[in-house]
């Protein structure tokens, strides 16, 4: 028993959290839809969309005979598609008969097979049904099932559902009926608000009309939860202008099936105008319609509870709305609510098919405010003399200006009440504005209520001198009052106040706050090049650095370094030229080349120099050894001469 009770409580809680449609068609949208479908048609397909679409909206085509003639003349009896459009359109028009031949009938019957596409099967079955020709329902069912198993895409299954709704009720439609649940599982839930197929709006709308058509046909409730139905409503009716005739047709079709089926009828509740009530406007008016904006006159609308947003105490409970001119209205002011915001919980009953029939509304009650007992006074700081109080009545201004200098305080006290009920009010904005007429300066203060809801404002000139920039003069005093629930916001020039500040603190000129003038231009500083030393210094040091070379030459001359051992042989010349060339290459590298080019040249010159140098050094080595060892001894032991023997071998090889 206890779990049952919990389940009951849970279901009640869940019911109150049900979704309500956030998007729906307004009367202008329905009119736009009608206009789109009423465009003059150019071919049989557009004629079908227009005629059948308008019939779904409950509108009959104006010139039925002309349309019928158009259909008959554009009909191509050899095409199944053409027959489908013609048959469906003629069915929507009254008194339009399409002549059918035996060939036509055979063509249509032959199309019902596993090999035709789902679209072809749908078209032939619908044409046969509209033209009143007999068809074998079981064959159709098996063809459809075979088609679904071959092509599992969404549109195929939707067409199968549509087709099944045209078949005889004795046929085995159970398997196809189960497809509704599988398709519903394939819908994408977007942030809990929308439910649609990834193929788009048209597919979603076609799904809705097909699902309800079939469910009505077999009289079984479709497996769609209430929240899902509302999410589908949001998806389909969020788009208010349609790209193509077929899209408009699908939306009209979905709207018709959602307002006319046997199981789920979503209810759209909208307040007429802003949901605001005041003494001049005491009625809360609600429009209760279906998705096609047709009013649900059979409904009975009830306020389950109305409570203030803050205190949650119920003002109303179970109060019915009265129906007048297809609008439900309730005189809320009769309950004498205080001004503010109220949370209404409205229930729409009358038909078990209603979906989203619990609505939460926020209703604002406005009132007019009156200012009572506005007392202005100038009080001495040392309390030596009593305050001089002047009472001012709204909207007049105090006759004499008030003087306040550094020894006195200026004070203001008043009460804010509801004009009709006399209840004390505390609006959101109560400001006291002091405006210096000469300089244009203004200073705004906030007046605050005390515990007894009496508003007080005190101005101490010495304390507040920074706000005034110590500028003495005549200030006009304004009382500014506003609130969302006030119908009469107030701007009242109460009095003039002459404020005297100590003169030496006043600034000489008043600088207007220049917040939005152009700022000084920023000059970009390019990176300063590093400071180089003066040329004289660097030249001097260059000379200094090069001077040791002179020293070297002098020393070498002194030591007797000479080139007397210069052997005149081609390899010597080549070596020296090559060596000089390498040094020259280094200079050229510094000035012109990059590493890769240098390596290239270096490889060429270097190898030449190496070969020449090798030869030259070998010759030198031989000369040294023969000279040292004496002409008679040519002791060539292996080890010390290992590198030399290599050169000698080279030498021998060439000679």
């Amino acid at each position: 028993q206890a779990p049952l009770f919990h389940l009951l409580v849970l279901s009640m809680v869940l019911e109150t959290q049900a979704l309500t449609p956030t998007h729906h068609l307004t009367t202008t949208d329905v009119a736009r839809l009608q206009a789109v479908l009423s465009q003059p048609f150019t071919d049989l397909k557009s004629a079908y969309y227009s005629v059948v679409g308008l019939s779904k909206l409950g509108i009959l085509v104006a010139d039925a005979d002309e349309t019928c003639q158009f259909i008959k003349s554009n009909l191509d009896p050899s095409s199944v598609e053409s027959l489908f459009y013609a048959a469906e359109a003629s069915q929507a028009l009254s008194g339009c008969e399409i002549p059918v031949s035996n060939d036509t009938r055979d063509l249509l019957l032959a199309t019902v097979s596993e090999d035709s596409t789902a679209s072809q099967i749908h078209q032939s079955v619908s044409a046969l049904s509209s033209l009143g020709l007999p068809l074998a329902s079981q064959e159709v069912v098996s063809a459809l099932k075979a088609r679904i198993s071959k092509e599992d895409n969404v549109l195929t299954i939707i067409l199968a559902l549509q087709t099944a709704s045209r078949l005889s009720q004795q046929a085995e439609l159970g398997d196809i009926l189960e497809e509704i649940e599988d398709l519903a599982a394939r819908l994408d839930d977007l942030s809990g608000v929308y439910l649609q197929f990834e193929e788009g709006l048209e597919t979603t709308a076609l799904f809705v009309s097909a699902a309800y058509a079939l469910s009505d046909h077999v009289d079984m409730e479709p497996p769609l939860k209430e929240d899902q139905v509302i999410q589908l409503v949001n998806s389909i009716f969020s788009k208010k202008s349609w790209d193509s005739l077929s899209e408009a047709f699908s939306v009209a079709s979905a709207a018709e099936s959602l307002s006319n089926n046997r199981f789920h009828v979503p209810v759209i509740v909208s307040a007429q105008g802003p949901a605001a009530i005041s003494h001049s406007q005491p009625f809360l008016r609600l429009q209760v319609t279906d998705v096609l904006c047709q009013p649900l006159s059979s409904a009975s609308v009830l306020v389950e509870s109305a409570s203030t947003s803050s205190s949650k105490s119920a003002i109303l409970s179970q109060a019915p709305f009265t129906l007048r001119d297809e609008v439900f209205e309730l005189n809320f002011m009769a309950s004498q609510p205080a001004s503010g915001y109220y949370q209404f919980s409205v229930a729409i009953a009358g038909d078990s098919r209603f979906v989203a029939n619990h609505v939460e509304l926020k209703v604002k009650v406005s009132t007019r405010v009156a200012i009572n007992n506005m007392d202005l006074s100038v009080v001495d700081k040392d309390q030596s003399t009593g305050p001089k109080t002047t009472r001012v009545e709204y909207p007049t201004k105090a006759k004499a200006p008030f003087m306040a200098d550094s020894h006195q305080n200026f004070a203001m006290a008043f009460q804010l009440v509801d004009e009709t009920t006399g209840v004390e009010l505390t609006p959101h904005q109560t400001f006291v504005r002091l405006h210096n007429q000469k300089t244009g300066q203004e200073v705004v203060f906030v007046a605050e209520p005390d515990s007894k809801n009496l508003y007080k404002f005190e101005l101490d000139t010495t304390e507040r001198k920074t706000e005034f920039d110590s500028i003495s003069g005549t200030y006009a005093l304004y009382l500014m009052m506003g609130d969302a629930t006030l119908e009469n916001p107030i701007l009242w020039n109460v009095a003039d106040v002459v404020l005297k500040f100590l003169d030496e603190e006043a600034p000489s000129t008043i600088q207007a706050k220049t917040l939005y003038t152009p700022k000084p231009e920023i000059q970009h500083l390019f990176r300063e090049p590093e400071k180089k030393p003066p040329t004289v210094v660097s030249n001097a040091f260059t000379a200094l650095v090069l001077s040791p070379f002179l020293l070297l030459l002098i020393l070498w001359v002194k030591l007797g370094a000479n080139i007397s051992n210069f052997t005149l042989s081609p390899s010597t010349f080549l070596f020296h030229i090559g060596h000089a060339a390498m040094l020259g290459l280094m200079y050229v590298y510094w000035t012109h080349l990059n590493m890769f080019q240098t390596m290239k040249y270096l490889a060429i010159i270097g190898s030449l120099t190496f070969l020449a140098g090798n030869r030259m050094l070998a010759q030198k080595a031989v000369k040294r050894y023969t000279h040292k060892a004496g002409p008679q001894t040519k002791k060539l032991s292996k080890e010390p001469l290992a590198p030399i023997s290599k050169n000698l071998f080279f030498l021998g090889a060439t000679e």
Binding site: W590, A618, A642
Partner: protein
């Protein structure tokens, strides 16, 4: 104390003059030249500033590198060290000296900017 240092130095100089072969003296003169060049470059850097730093570095490294290579050449050529360098003939030492200098020059010229 000071005169002993002085006498050591004068003896050293005397011995250097008499016993060092001429070839080595030539290389020593070269070493002195390289040393002075390096010192003057460093002096410039200390006195005037390190701009441009990469040029200073490359010049200084050239001096240091040349000094080291010349020292190597001197060691290898010195007949008193012949036992340590049995496989290296003076010509070979000179050839190594030239090759190493080529590489040093390449690097220095690359870096001098």
């Amino acid at each position: 104390m000071s005169n002993s240092v002085f006498s050591v130095i004068s003896r050293f100089v005397e011995e250097y003059r008499s016993s060092t072969p001429n070839k080595l003296k030539v290389i020593d003169a070269y070493l002195l030249y390289i040393l002075l060049t390096g010192v003057f470059q460093f002096l410039y850097c200390v006195l005037v500033g390190t701009f441009p730093f990469n040029s200073f570095l490359s010049g200084f490294i050239a001096c240091v590198g040349s000094f080291i290579l010349a020292v190597c050449l001197r060691i290898q050529i010195n007949p008193q060290n012949k036992r340590d360098f049995l496989t290296v003939s003076p010509e070979r030492a000179f050839a190594d000296f030239l090759f190493a200098h080529t590489v040093l020059h390449l690097v220095v010229v690359n870096f001098v900017g």
